[in-house]
């Protein structure tokens, strides 16, 4: 059963997750796509990429996205962790990836990923989610689209209220 929801063009749908999340102590599978922890990325990714395999990276809230700058062209997925509901650091990380570093690949929310955060995540540039509250794509999309307006610019393309008012 799929556990990954992807958002594209305003629609949310289940997606097959063909990346294997490699933990800090895990050995890297011999084939297929992998997501490495940031601390292992620089040392291990080049060899995997050289095999023509896709590689992603996983950052915890405290990890700084600036460290990814040299690798962005090689990255297929950047997974940003929400260790708990209250930890909002990954919102900043996602915006920086989109807005400062121009990263256009997948940014995936992992960890404590709840429906109530969906709209915030989407606005900060997340486009893939591993919900832990049993949310379906329909429920996810409903939350994302619940608010008809937004007040400020962020990493998405939504026009803020001050632009709507000009129209």
């Amino acid at each position: 059963m799929p556990t990954l929801i992807k958002l594209a063009g305003g629609t949310a749908a289940w997606a097959d997750d063909d990346f294997v999340m490699v933990g800090l102590e895990d050995s890297v599978p011999l084939s297929g796509k992998v997501i490495l922890p940031l601390s292992r990325y620089a040392a291990e990714a080049p060899a995997i990429l050289a095999q023509g395999r896709k590689v992603g990276v996983r950052l915890e809230g405290a990890d700084e996205v600036e460290a990814l700058a040299p690798f962005l062209a090689d990255l297929s997925v950047i997974a940003l962790e929400f260790s708990k509901f209250r930890d909002g650091r990954s919102f900043s990380s996602a915006r920086l990836l989109r807005e400062r570093f121009g990263y256009r690949g997948e940014i995936r929310a992992v960890g404590e990923v709840l429906r109530e955060l969906a709209a915030f995540m989407m606005r900060c540039g997340f486009d893939a989610f591993e919900p832990t509250d049993g949310s379906t794509p329909e429920e996810w999309a409903a939350t994302v689209h619940r608010y008809r307006h937004v007040y400020q610019r962020a990493a998405d393309s939504r026009a803020p209220a001050f632009v709507e008012r000009e129209a």
Binding site: S92, R146, H149
Partner: protein
């Protein structure tokens, strides 16, 4: 004042409908209390000592008569017929039922009120000068910038889960009525030598367990760059503020640990990389918001009203009220009227539904449809004609709202304390009432002059005790209520933190100790020194000696 347009109203409707769904999921058992608690807190709904408490936002302390009547109606229909105005210029209802909250939010939304930004680790309701648009000493209207900040910060996708709550204050006057230096960010509008409008940006103030007075991070930020600059400040804080210890999570701790110069360097580095033109408001939107606060249609009146002067000469109560509760208005023939919610024996900050309705009526009839809430837990009618003062005073007096004590010894700030609050260690309201009983003579209160007593029932310092001329902090000693006194704090432009008087006092010694402190002040003051000035001149020693002389 700013009227919500269709977009603002849609926002509130969407929010209310979202919360209705969340309450339904909780009541049906679909989600647990652990899952629901952060959701209800994001809608201002706390579980307190006796019941749920709903905190409704009063954005930058500004209310229309229609809104004030709606608050009165909520208090009557869903609570016990009163509301409690707080030091953050919000209003709390202390006896709310969970099942009613979706209906309450719907009703409030119809008049542009809501509970957004009243809880959680987000940017909270913005405090502004309660005399905005009325006082002669402001260089711009701080409500314009408060509304700019309100919209930018509402449901901010990046800054809704900060390390801790975040409070702004905005003032445009050299006399600070917002406690700006005790906020996470304090903004003071000024014009520089070239006449350019800008903000002195102060950061890292706060109370709580480790109080700090804010440091200036920028002397003069051009006003139209406000949003991109505070976005940079918030981003540095969101990424680097401590999340391992909630008592060290406020921005004051980050600023103190980095030092203001290093913090400034980090903010400037982030700010330089932000697409400022994307974040800062376009001139058209700024103009739209500014137009909502355009100068009102004041009448051209003489600076002195013969009607008022004649009444005042014949009516000592009116004369006393005028001495203590009026503030100068920028328009000749008008006054700013403070409505005290600190009548003898009353609960500081409480107003009954009838009182709210009366003030709404007076605001409509006599104050150009404008009512304000102050951080000192009083209300303000900002635009009253001098000619109307006798009528306004009489109406207020009939509703026990004409207590002539603004900034005097009985104008005490007190948080709800242990009588209501789940966090409190000791009561605060009854301490205020006991102190009030020691100072029943209004003549003596005027003789004492400006004296700001602030009481908090716990270290979270909602009662601003750190910046009280006399600060009183309730502590729990083995189940017993004790109180720690501090002297010499100020939340105004001359901000300072209070100095500890001595060992904590038992409940029944506090009011007497305050009386002793006041007597000591009166015996050593020089000229027209305020309590605070005397304390700063003579130090804590004579006060300490007097209070603890009879201690055993």
């Amino acid at each position: 004042m700013y009227l919500y347009d269709e977009i603002d109203r849609d926002m509130l409707a969407d929010r209310a409908s979202e919360f209705r769904g969340q309450v339904a999921r909780r009541l049906s058992g679909e989600i647990t209390e652990d899952q629901f608690k952060p959701l209800r807190l994001m809608n201002g709904l706390y579980l307190q000592l006796h019941a749920y408490m709903l905190r409704v936002s009063v954005p930058y302390g500004s209310l229309s008569p229609v809104q004030l009547r709606a608050l009165a109606a909520v208090s009557r229909k869903y609570d016990k017929g009163y509301g409690h105005f707080t030091t953050r210029t919000n209003i709390q209802f202390h006896w709310i039922k969970l099942k009613d909250t979706p209906d309450i939010l719907d009703e409030l939304a119809t008049v542009g009120l809501h509970a957004i930004q009243t809880s959680g680790n987000c940017i909270r309701n913005i405090t502004a000068d309660p005399y905005a648009g009325a006082t002669a000493d402001e260089v711009d209207d701080p409500r314009v910038w408060s509304e700019v900040l309100r919209q930018w910060s509402t449901f901010h996708p990046e800054f809704s889960f900060l390390p801790r709550k975040f409070k702004f204050a905005v003032t445009a006057s050299p006399k600070d009525r917002t406690a700006a230096k005790a906020h996470d960010i304090g903004l003071v509008l000024r014009r520089n030598r070239d006449g350019v409008l800008g903000f002195e940006v102060m950061v890292g103030g706060g109370m709580g367990r480790t109080p700090h007075i804010a440091s200036t991070i920028r002397e003069h930020l051009p006003a139209d760059h406000l949003l991109s600059y505070v976005e940079a400040v918030l981003r540095v804080y969101n990424r680097h503020g401590r999340r391992d210890n909630m008592y060290k999570a406020r921005i004051k701790i980050l600023v103190a640990s980095l030092g203001i110069d290093e913090f400034r360097r980090q903010v400037d580095a982030v700010w330089a990389l932000i697409e400022q033109g994307e974040i800062d408001l376009p001139p058209s939107e700024l103009a739209r918001i500014r137009a909502a606060f355009a100068p009102l249609n004041f009448e051209s009146l003489p600076a002195i009203s013969p009607t008022f002067e004649a009444e005042r000469a014949n009516n000592p109560a009116l004369a006393r009220f005028a001495r203590n509760n009026l503030r100068p208005h920028k328009q000749p023939g008008y006054a700013i009227v403070e409505v005290s919610l600190k009548a003898p024996g009353a609960t500081p900050g409480d107003a009954t539904a009838e009182q709210m309705e009366l003030i709404a009526d007076l605001g409509e009839r006599y104050s150009l449809g404008d009512v304000r809430v102050t951080h000192a837990q009083n209300l303000v009618l900002p635009h009253v004609k001098l000619d109307d003062l006798p009528a306004v005073h009489a109406a207020l007096a009939a509703a026990k709202l004409a207590t002539p004590n603004i900034d005097l010894v009985t104008d005490i700030i007190a948080c709800p304390g242990l009588d209501y609050c789940a966090l409190a260690n000791a009561r605060a309201i009854s301490v205020a009432q006991d102190i009030g009983e020691k100072f029943t003579s209004p003549d003596k209160a005027e003789l004492i002059g400006e004296l700001k007593i602030k009481i908090s029932g716990c270290i979270n310092a909602c009662g601003h005790h750190h910046v009280g001329h006399i600060g009183i902090l309730g502590v729990d000693k083995k189940g017993e209520e004790f109180y720690q006194l501090t002297l010499g704090g100020s939340g105004a432009e001359d901000a300072s933190l209070g100095e500890m008087l001595g060992p904590a006092l038992a409940y029944d010694r506090v009011a007497g100790a305050v009386e002793t402190l006041v007597d000591t002040y009166l015996s050593v003051r020089v000229g027209d020194e305020r309590f605070l000035d005397t304390f700063r001149r003579v130090g804590v020693a004579p006060f300490k000696e007097a209070v603890y002389a009879d201690a055993h």
